[in-house]
């Protein structure tokens, strides 16, 4: 499985839950804490994100950044790849 990671801007998020609805992996949920605006914000709750970007595409507040695992180049140990 291709693995992904999302980074959610907690203070920008308004807790609309549209990313949660859009995620095919059920990776997201609302936090127990609230942010300074008073909203519960979206958080990654399962380690099964595929980096499909769906959540970021529907987010009205551009609060989501998505990373995806690089396909390892042949013969190179992915552990020692340098980030760009």
């Amino acid at each position: 499985m291709i693995r992904g990671k999302v980074l959610i801007a907690e203070e920008i998020c308004k807790g609309c839950e549209l990313c949660i609805t859009a995620c095919p992996q059920d990776s997201l949920a609302l936090s127990e804490k609230i942010n300074l605006k008073g909203y519960r914000f979206a958080v990654l709750v399962q380690d099964n994100c595929t980096g499909c970007v769906n959540c970021a595409l529907v987010c009205p507040d551009a609060a989501i950044t998505v990373y995806r695992q690089k396909k390892p180049a042949k013969g190179i140990n992915p552990e020692i790849q340098v980030a760009v």
């Binding site: 529907v58 987010c59 980030a83």
Partner: protein, 258 residues
């Protein structure tokens, strides 16, 4: 936003475009305006036309679009965005010019400007956010409100005898020879967002070729005005607005050539 260092073996696949400012948007949670702003700015970033683009903001909830869109912007009086965009494009024909308007702005007070801009085939992109309501002023009935829809000015539901029928202004626009590309989209799912992005991209390419008016209607939600959660509003949109305003192209360049 400062991004943390990328974890080893992971690469960045999506981030907020730098053509959106850092100003947090004032829209209600889940409002489609934010999505359309972002997609429009993504296309401008990807096409590398930020310094050659001028947007015209409306009166409506998106009145502060100029605070969020990091391109040259002009505010227009209520309903007049396409007329202002006409002037800008005629004076600066080498710029990419777009107007951004809600349904109250474009299809009520601005109906004359809208129709005549397209009838003149002005070489601009008109983005039309149809949420079937006057969001900004507290949820009054719009020309595009569907029959039976309850709003503050139609508390028993829109009645055609009293308030006429939902105005399918995009269908009217498509009849005009000046319209080059007319299409209807939504932002309720990731795939719908991807399609909208393609339509905006095509529209700017047609504008570069001086093809005439490109008109994109985006069926959007208004969770506050509709008194629903964002997820409920997207479901309501699909079930109640899509049958009246079906998604898809109303006029494509091949039809225009005929």
């Amino acid at each position: 936003m400062d991004l943390p260092p990328i974890t080893n073996g992971f690469e960045l696949v999506y981030k907020k475009p730098q053509t959106l400012t850092e100003t947090p948007m004032h829209y209600c949670p889940g409002c489609g305006h934010g999505v359309v702003h972002r997609v429009l700015m993504e296309v401008i970033e990807e096409m590398g036309i930020q310094d050659r683009t001028i947007g015209v903001a409306p009166v409506g909830c998106s009145v502060f679009a100029y605070d969020y869109m990091n391109v040259d912007m002009q505010e227009a009086a209520h309903g007049r965005a396409s007329a202002v965009a006409t002037g800008i494009k005629r004076v600066l024909p080498d710029r990419f010019v777009y107007s951004y308007q809600g349904d109250g702005d474009l299809a009520a007070i601005g109906t004359a400007e809208t129709i005549h801009t397209v009838n003149r085939g002005e070489n601009i992109l008109m983005v039309f956010i149809n949420n079937g309501i006057y969001g900004m002023t507290g949820g009054q009935m719009a020309p595009t409100s569907i029959l039976g829809m309850k709003t503050t000015t139609s508390p028993f539901g829109r009645d055609s005898k009293l308030a006429g029928h939902p105005l399918k202004i995009t269908n009217l626009i498509a009849q005009l020879p000046g319209a080059f590309y007319v299409t209807r989209h939504a932002v309720h799912t990731a795939n719908a967002v991807r399609k909208l992005k393609k339509a905006i991209h095509s529209s700017f390419e047609y504008q570069l070729l001086n093809k005439g008016t490109c008109f994109i209607e985006v069926l959007s939600n208004c969770p506050s005005g509709w008194k629903m959660t964002p997820a409920e509003s997207n479901k309501w949109l699909e079930e109640n607005m899509f049958p009246i305003y079906p998604l898809g192209d109303l006029k494509t360049p091949s039809q225009t050539m005929n």
